[in-house]
């Protein structure tokens, strides 16, 4: 098996700094500009305060220690303590402000991503695994937080420190200052060299780790297949190769890391040596005090601290850039299905009131007008399909797998948009209705009865507080679900774990049906595969409930088996994306076409004499 691409999409272009990305990130900081300004301001103040320490030391040496006057030393020590107290307090506030800033920005970013994802159409969810989306919302956002709190803000402080120390060095003695700074071009070159090497190594490592994890994930989920087909050895060898590539990529990066620190330290100590040499000569020539020389030594060491930490910050920066790239790529992904202009676009821009029904009188007239539809490019799933279903009518669609039946449902719910033609509900194109409104009116019983964690009641009403407990019970009764629910010790308050573990498939179907009923739609869509994998008793319950509920409502049944069509008023036959026949069962049989063939096939399956 090839190294699966599972996680490769998470990869990055590997830029360490991307001005456009940073600008967009700053857009999220902007609402908290004052908080950000406070954080940076405090940092600048701190950088300034930290200059004072060595200066106090210098004064202590030059004024009191060298002239042998102990009287001023307590004052000096006191001043030093005072400066330390102040800077500790400021640092605490600065830390806290930075964290708060980070948290606020992350809150907004998370809301933006989550809301954006709510606007995405189903095809988006078809193509993006849930785990990856959750990662965007959690780990990637956290990486940005790291950038903001330990990276970006601190960089301001570091840069300011470098500037103030440079000024202090030059102010104390400009000749010595210039001499001690003369290694700077070399430091700059080292940093550049390190960056280039690290960028490549980092990208390599990320890619290899992603491949390893993708491969692992696949091997764990498919372990049964691996074992039954005796693939253990071969898969292990492949894994070992991937693992080894990762190791080698890491060793390359370790080389840079291990070398960077000592090289920077070397530069620092060359600086110190220069200060000793030139500075010492100046002291001897009385051009510099001995206290100033000690201050110089301290400043030089402080100067190199931020540079030494650079390797760590660089890592944070790179991770954050990769994360922000992924986040923005996600945010830039425009929803394929959009609400019409003027009705607000999607969740993120909408007010949170419950929608008023545009058309209060119950309707439910469904019309497909010359509909063409394809999931990809020009591979038409529906070709020029037209039909009308009158309010209150129940219609069944039949056809072989892949005939396009299920797509009809998705189009009416507007999970996808048609390429040509129109889908109309009560005369209005579904694209001209707000999606919420449309989906309130069109209910669906889906194949997979997805249950959320929470109680049975909360799975029936979902997050719609307007649905009362009484309505829930009524819906459960109508769905024939009340009996089993009320037998449970906690009834409707029974907790549901991990997608309905502990409930049978049939029970899950019944809850899903109660949910559809509780939302009281005008048009009900039913996929009969929903009832395919349940025992016959539950199937009977579901059928009975559906029949009762569909009375007086428009019903559309997608029948994979002809057994479900018994209560349909009309049967529509789909074949290769086209609507080929329609009528009652008897009429269709008489037509002697596709329907008859489908029917005969099933009949043969059940009836043919034993060979």
């Amino acid at each position: 098996m090839a190294a699966s691409g599972i996680f490769i999409d998470d990869e990055i272009t590997g830029r360490a700094y991307d001005a456009a990305l940073v600008r967009r990130l700053l857009g999220f900081v902007q609402p908290y500009a004052r908080l950000a300004a406070l954080a940076v301001g405090l940092l600048l103040a701190l950088a300034g305060l930290e200059l004072l320490g060595p200066l106090i030391g210098k004064v202590a040496v030059d004024r009191y220690i060298v002239p042998r006057d102990p009287s001023g030393l307590p004052l000096m020590a006191g001043a030093f303590v005072a400066v330390q107290l102040l800077s500790s307090a400021l640092r605490y506030v600065q830390n806290l402000v930075t964290q708060m800033l980070g948290q606020r920005v992350m809150f907004d970013l998370r809301m933006r991503i989550f809301s954006h994802l709510q606007d995405m159409s189903l095809s988006f969810y078809d193509h993006n695994p849930v785990g990856r989306l959750v990662t965007r919302l959690t780990n990637d956002v956290d990486a940005l937080n790291e950038l903001l709190t330990s990276g970006a803000v601190a960089v301001f402080g570091d840069i300011f420190s470098l500037v103030t120390i440079t000024i202090a060095l030059l102010a104390l003695n400009w000749q010595l200052g210039l001499i001690s700074l003369c290694v700077m071009p070399l430091v700059y070159l080292t940093v550049r060299w390190f960056q280039t090497g690290m960028r490549q190594a980092y990208r390599d490592i990320r890619l290899r780790l992603a491949i390893i994890n993708g491969y692992l994930n696949e091997n764990i989920t498919g372990m049964q297949v691996v074992q039954l087909f005796n693939r253990e050895r071969r898969n292990f060898e492949r894994f070992d190769q991937l693992n080894r590539d990762h190791l080698n990529a890491n060793m390359r990066s370790i080389f840079y890391y291990a070398l960077f620190y000592p090289v920077v330290e070397l530069f620092m100590n060359i600086c110190l040596a220069l200060v000793i040499w030139f500075g010492g000569r100046q002291v001897l020539g009385d051009a510099l005090t001995i206290g100033a020389l000690t201050a110089f030594l301290t400043y030089v060491q402080r100067f190199f601290m931020p540079i030494r930490d650079l390797s760590e910050k660089y890592n944070i920066l790179q991770a954050a850039m990769a994360s922000s790239e992924r986040i923005f790529k996600l945010l830039d992904h425009a929803p394929e299905v959009r609400d019409p202009e003027g009705l607000g676009s999607g969740v993120s821009g909408r007010v949170t009131t419950r929608p008023q029904t545009l058309d209060p009188k119950p309707g439910g007239r469904v019309e497909f007008r010359d509909v063409w539809f394809a999931y990809v490019d020009e591979e038409w799933v529906l070709k020029d399909v037209s039909f009308t279903i009158e309010p209150g009518e129940t219609v069944a669609f039949v056809g072989a797998t892949g005939a396009g039946k299920t797509s009809l449902l998705s189009l009416l719910s507007r999970f996808y948009d048609v390429q040509r033609g129109q889908v109309l509900l009560d005369g209005t194109d579904v694209r001209e209705m707000p999606q919420r409104e449309l989906r309130r009116r069109v209910g669906a019983v889906l194949q997979d009865p997805f249950l959320f964690s929470g109680t049975i009641a909360s799975n029936i009403r979902l997050l719609d507080e307007a649905i009362t407990d009484e309505q829930i019970r009524a819906a459960a009764r109508a769905a024939n679900a009340a009996e089993f629910i009320e037998r449970l010790p906690l009834g409707y308050d029974t907790e549901i774990y991990e997608r309905g573990a502990g409930l049978s498939m049939g029970q899950r179907q019944l809850i899903a049906l109660a949910r559809a009923i509780a939302f009281d739609p005008d048009v009900l869509l039913v996929l009969d595969e929903a009832t395919a994998n349940v025992d016959s008793e539950t199937e009977g319950l579901i059928q009975e409930a559906l029949q009762g509920f569909m009375a007086g409502r428009t019903g559309i049944i997608i029948a994979h088996r002809l057994s479900t069509i018994q209560y349909a008023d009309r049967i529509l036959v789909m074949h290769r994306g086209r609507l080929v026949e329609q009528g009652s069962h008897a009429e269709l049989l008489r037509l002697n076409g596709i329907y008859r063939r489908l029917w005969e096939l099933q009949a043969i399956e059940e009836r043919a004499p034993v060979a």
Binding site: A258, A273, L284
Partner: protein, 578 residues
């Protein structure tokens, strides 16, 4: 617990570790001798020296740094290297271990949990071995040496400075409990937040179908806000640490200015020694900060090690025997087999049956009757709790496991496909892909009907990055995969459920040819699929309630007859009712 596992991996590196620790000590000694050179330089300046002597001191500093830097590189590279190699070995061993574990384990353990161990826990262990060990040795060595050097300069000054050190520990201890508690609270909310998002995305279809998007945004906002609140609560305490540490160091400095200054004036120490002492104070700061971090790495690393060890200690529930029959005939026999999943209720309750070589067995029954469990015992995905499962008269527990599985082609209810080409997915079991075999498997499974729809035919990459197959196509792939093994025993476990009726009929027709010279077991809830089997058993609540050929069972008028009649009857009713 944890450490034992680690020592196993590290035993090969004992010598290297000793050398690396030695390198750390030497490097630290050299690095700490630089302030000593500074002191000599300052003292020589105050007593009036030559420019040449100063240049000599400068050169000495650079030379010492070069040696120290070289040792630093060796140490950093060495420790990291060991940690990465151990990570590599452990990762390999973990996969190898998982490959030996039984199906039951994977069904009771979530993939996410295993992945977390293989990624996060492994990473925590690597961090413990790399930066953790490196920092720890560095911290201990430089702390001890620095303190010792400070005492050689002035016992009095060193004592004053040392008095403040316990204050640092006190700050740590008092704040740590709070930090830990608040950190746990943040982590919990983080899980909640992830779980909510996960649920929303997985249930996107329902969320959309019921227009719940806005309600979910509000729901998510609450969880998000709680996360922010908890994080800020953590920040309030956590932000204390670093400034507190700085304050303590500041106090030490002030003490040195005051008392050390007096000592210089009194002639007890030289100005150079004063400068040297302050330089050492600066050196003390880093180890103190690193210590907290190292402690955290240690805690996390140890917890992760225990989790990994737990995984390693999981015994494979199924271990193969040693017998290999010279040739496989494909005879199946079950003798009073009982079986249940772990603590669960019994699934099979005394099942006995016999299928001769090249015979066929059909199994019908309701959901939960034990059909899948029964066939899974044959290839030892599970072991029977009592009774015997025999293939070719040999207890499956005595079979060499890979030989047993080679003999059986299993098409499960749910198809697992690897993200790879269709051809690779079919050829899984066979070492070298035989084109003719592949073509035959593709034909019999009716997968050839689908090939024109796939952009690159058999070379089409499927899965997430490629083409998504329909349920029926997946099942056909699984059938082709099983046939590709050319097994003596073919098991279809409800393998035609997602295939439409006409394709199913085609597959069955083709299969009949293949079945002629193999033993076949077919599980289905469609009577039409098992009708032609030599022998059909009806399972109910883990027991065989009926057995015989199709016509015999119909004539017997038992449960099978009822299932059959119901299927027929409903068919007729439906057709009349429309």
């Amino acid at each position: 617990m944890g450490p034992r596992l680690l020592f196993g991996y590290l035993s090969a590196y004992r010598k290297r570790y000793t050398l690396l620790v030695l390198a750390t000590v030497v490097r630290t000694l050299i690095a700490l001798s630089i302030p000593f050179v500074l002191r000599l330089a300052i003292d020589s300046i105050t007593s009036g020296t030559s420019s040449q002597t100063l240049a000599g001191y400068g050169l000495l500093i650079v030379l010492l740094t070069l040696v120290a830097g070289g040792l630093h590189f060796v140490r950093a590279y060495g420790f990291s290297h060991v940690s990465r190699v151990v990570e590599y070995c452990m990762r390999n061993d973990l996969l190898a271990h998982l490959q030996g574990l039984h199906t039951g384990f994977f069904q009771t353990t979530r993939t996410g949990d295993l992945m977390a161990r293989l990624t996060n826990d492994l990473n925590a262990v690597r961090q413990l071995l790399g930066p953790g060990v490196q920092n720890f040795t560095n911290t201990v060595v430089s702390f001890a040496i620095t303190l010792a050097l400070m005492f050689t300069i002035s016992v009095r000054l060193a004592l004053y400075a040392a008095v403040l050190l316990p204050v640092v520990s006190l700050v740590f201890i008092s704040v740590r409990r709070q930090i830990e508690r608040r950190f746990t609270a943040v982590q919990e909310q983080f899980s909640t937040l992830s779980a909510k998002a996960q649920e929303n995305f997985s249930g996107a279809r329902v969320v959309k179908a019921f227009a719940q998007e806005q309600a979910w945004v509000d729901h998510f906002r609450q969880a998000n806000q709680e996360y922010v609140d908890r994080s800020i609560r953590l920040a309030r305490v956590q932000s204390v640490l670093w400034p507190a540490m700085q304050l303590v160091v500041g106090l030490m400095f002030a003490t040195v200015i005051w008392l050390g200054g007096q000592d210089v004036i009194a002639g007890q120490i030289t100005l150079g020694q004063y400068v040297q002492f302050t330089a050492y104070l600066l050196q003390l700061v880093w180890p103190m900060i690193a210590l907290g971090w190292t402690a955290q790495l240690y805690q996390q690393g140890m917890a992760s090690l225990r989790r990994l060890e737990e995984l390693f200690e999981t015994e494979p529930g199924i271990v193969g025997g040693s017998l290999v029959p010279p040739s496989v005939r494909g005879e199946i026999e079950l003798l009073d087999v009982r079986f249940g999943y772990r603590a669960g209720p019994p699934v099979l309750r005394g099942v006995s049956l016999h299928v001769p070589p090249r015979g066929s067995l059909g199994i019908v029954g309701h959901t939960g009757a034990g059909k899948t469990s029964l066939v899974q015992l044959l290839m030892r995905l599970y072991d029977a709790s009592s009774g015997q499962v025999l293939v070719d008269g040999l207890d499956v527990r005595n079979w060499q496991l890979d030989e047993l599985r080679r003999a059986i082609g299993y098409v499960p209810q749910e198809t697992f496909l690897f993200s790879d080409s269709l051809a690779e997915n079919i050829a899984l079991g066979s070492a070298a892909v035989e084109e003719i075999e592949l073509a035959r498997a593709v034909r019999v499974s009716r997968l050839e009907n689908d090939l024109p729809d796939l952009p690159h035919g058999l070379e089409t990459v499927i899965g997430e990055r490629g083409v998504t197959l329909s349920g029926g196509q997946k099942q056909r792939t699984a059938i082709a995969r099983a046939l590709m093994k050319d097994p003596r025993i073919l098991i279809l476990d409800d393998a035609l459920s997602s295939v439409d009726t006409s394709t199913a009929e085609q597959i069955l027709t083709e299969l009949r040819q293949v079945m002629r010279d193999r033993t076949t077991v077919i599980v289905s809830h469609r009577i039409s699929v098992v009708r032609d089997c030599d022998q059909i058993v009806v399972l109910r609540d883990g027991e065989i309630v009926e057995r015989g050929a199709h016509m015999d069972l119909i004539r017997a008028g038992g449960e099978y007859g009822r299932i059959y009649r119901r299927q027929l009857l409903r068919e007729e009713l439906e057709l009349d009712g429309s």
